[in-house]
Subunit: 464 residues, 2 copies
């Protein structure tokens, strides 16, 4: 018994020594990842090009094609083991002429306001749409007012994002149904159009677009839908209180086309030990058309490219195959994500880990994990390694839309969680431009992502 | 023994019940503080006025006097127990005409560049100063070059802030001696002027001012000092490599005047239980003159005012006397802080706690504490209460310049620690304006400060 105890103690000390050695090596590696990203990073330059030399990258546009070509060329320069384009058919919708809208409070008395068509919306007629307005606080109000009060009117969805929620994505989740399904639902009550308060916590003049659906609504019953800026929504609401009979006018000339060919952009460092086990990191290359898509999601793309660039620069040879995937068409179709997952399945590629950055290029705070308990405990064991970089948020939760289709039991999906306070100031709006991205914040995000992937590559995804 | 055990267990359960009750009450109170700040806060409106209706508030200027009057009036409206002005003499330095500078690479060949006088610098002569340039990486280089290489030249201090430091204040600390003491030290080697690389991690065209000292340098030996933008510094450095004989010209027309009368602004809610024990919260009301001083430190002032407004709005009656102190002249003299501490000492006011916000109105991450172990352990016991608000940084460290003079054994001094990544993009520069402040980030800071003060008021500062 005594002898066994001594052996046990010896083993424990040996293991502890090993574990300290490993942690100290991890700590040094992570320090060098951050140093390289902050002193000699490439992500900011890439984003500058994507934003300022290409611009908004709506699926099916020439800009989106240019972004595919540019990012492929840049990945080619990194000396990865493979870089390729994965073809995918994407929807094509265009905004057409700039939208125009006003409140009419009497003959010749109008107040201009800022609107934009929601992505996927039908056009108004060529002379625009003018009708009375009924303000509601959400889809659930429609049944209360009923067809008699809604028919022939424009439904104005005005439920604001809840400012007292600390994590702004929760506030977004509490409102976005108005934008996504508002037109489809209002059409059932005979509405002729919908105006949706922008998903923005700030009071300003930028209308925020975003995807919407008509569901099964027959083509001839589809009604046009636009977003109004938060300040415009306040003006409309307060003017309605004074003059419930006011008329709202808007004109938009958007068009839906047949699907067109586009591509996911993929680069790979093939694993030295487990070449057939894949760990992927990505963002989506498409964006809305109003701004440059710098935060959403140019930032996520260049951070993901930076992960592989850092690994090459530090001459790190991963055990698993590490892929960067720049997904096409997250915003209005998720076709790139669907295609990537289908191809992975068809080829029997075993994906064990996926990380997405699609919450803006702001100071990283941590990650949310969609995984089992075993792997979440593994992650929690790494928290101390991240503390010097002020990375503190390690929670269970969703990961990212593009990696969602890969989800399987035993796999780890993760989403980078940057500071979210300013995200909806820019999200899907004309001010989502390069100047709104801070270089250090962007670079810290890429380094944080590379560190997590380094750790998962080193210790592996655990299986139950 | 059994009986005693039962009593002990009973006591333990009772205590646990009490402790849970207290924590649940704390948790509710803190939730309501954040709700009020985010849904109905006043700090952003106050900052709008300070920045856009008053502007930069350099000590001794009319703007500073207007800021004193405005904030006193706003505090008067809150229904505090006392609001008053504390007179203090402050230095008065003016920038005069806009600065002008260029590199001269040959007869009639000039490159314009952006500079600004450092605060407290003497003027150049009326026709400006033109001389050859010697570039150094810090004060320690002067001895290496010696008088023979420095005499008659302009010393160009070009050590950049270190980008690989995660906490940007550390990077600032590693450079700021060039700005503060660079002129004094260079004069000892016969330099005729100094140009200092701006304390900015970003590459842009804004020169950043800040305070400097001549120490004991006789008046007739003081040389003019200016800051050059980071981009300007890079251009100067690379041009010097091509043409070491280039001449640098700059002209500034600043003036030092006699001290003038100004004020600290103070408001108080008198304590219900310990009226003679003081807890203070503050920022500094003065700012540099180039921007509006929105982040430095308009933000800290309005957040501190918000703490007392929140307490009044929630009808919280603190046990200790809680004061908001808006200090005058932090930037170039610290006279307000010195005066406040001297008056507190003279009147025998026992200060037990002080909190300063002077690191920008960015998303709050936590606090640094200058206190003994006992109170730091107390704070650590509260960490879980802050977790829902993503407040995670509780470290030992400095607090704030204005509350420093109050320091005494047994007292707790604390500094709000917001995200620091963007702070030096704006610090002491013309772009430190209202539009660079995000409403939610500012409000979260005020709520976080109010929560900490609520806890210290409730549980008291512990004494050894």
């Amino acid at each position: 018994m005594k002898k066994n105890t001594i052996i046990l103690l010896f083993l424990l000390f040996a293991l502890q020594g090993y574990s300290q050695q490993v942690n100290s090596q991890d700590s040094l590696t992570i320090r060098s990842i951050y140093d390289m990203a902050l002193l000699n990073g490439k992500s900011y330059d890439w984003l500058d090009y994507l934003s300022n030399n290409i611009g908004g990258r709506l699926s099916g546009t020439l800009n989106a094609a240019m972004a595919v070509q540019y990012t492929k060329e840049e990945l080619d320069k990194l000396g990865l083991d493979k870089v390729w384009l994965q073809p995918v058919l994407v929807p094509k919708w265009t905004r057409g002429f700039p939208e125009y809208a006003y409140l009419e409070t009497g003959p010749g008395k109008t107040i201009r306001t800022d609107v934009c068509a929601l992505g996927g919306s039908v056009s108004t007629s060529e002379i625009g749409l003018k009708a009375g307005v009924i303000e509601v606080q959400g889809i659930e109000d429609l049944a209360r007012y009923g067809r008699e009060q809604i028919e022939g009117k424009i439904v104005f969805y005005n439920r604001p994002m809840q400012a007292d929620l600390i994590q702004t994505f929760e506030a977004y989740g509490g409102c976005v149904d108005q934008r996504y399904a508002g037109a489809m639902e209002a059409a059932k009550y005979g509405a002729v159009g919908v105006v949706v308060r922008s998903m923005n916590l700030r009071l300003d003049d930028f209308p925020h677009t975003g995807t919407m659906t008509y569901g099964d609504t027959p083509v001839n019953e589809r009604i046009p839908a636009c977003a109004i800026s938060t300040r415009g929504a306040n003006v409309l609401s307060s003017t309605l209180k004074l003059l419930p009979s006011l008329q709202f006018y808007f004109k938009q000339s958007c068009t839906n086309y047949d699907d067109v060919l586009s591509h996911n952009v993929i680069g790979e460092i093939t694993g030295s030990k487990y070449p057939n086990k894949y760990m992927i990191v990505g963002g989506h290359l498409d964006s809305w058309d109003l701004g440059d898509g710098s935060h959403d999601d140019g930032a996520g793309c260049v951070q993901s490219m930076e992960v592989l660039r850092l690994f090459k620069e530090m001459n790190y040879k991963p055990k698993h195959s590490i892929r960067v995937v720049l997904f096409m068409n997250e915003e209005n179709g998720l076709r790139g994500a669907t295609k990537y997952a289908a191809e992975a399945k068809r080829k029997g590629e075993k994906h064990v880990f996926a990380l997405e950055s699609d919450a803006g290029g702001f100071t990283p705070r941590g990650f949310s994990f969609d995984c089992d308990d075993l792997n979440f405990e593994l992650v929690q064991g790494w928290e101390a390694l991240f503390k010097p970089y002020l990375i503190h948020f390690f929670e269970r939760g969703g990961s990212g839309a593009d990696i969602g289709p890969l989800k399987k039991p035993g796999m780890v999906l993760a989403g980078l969680r940057p500071d979210s306070q300013r995200y909806f100031d820019y999200h899907h709006a004309a001010n989502d431009t390069f100047d709104a991205v801070n270089k250090r914040e962007l670079e810290l995000g890429g380094a944080t992502m590379a560190s997590l992937i380094y750790l998962f590559d080193t210790y592996g995804v655990l299986s139950n």
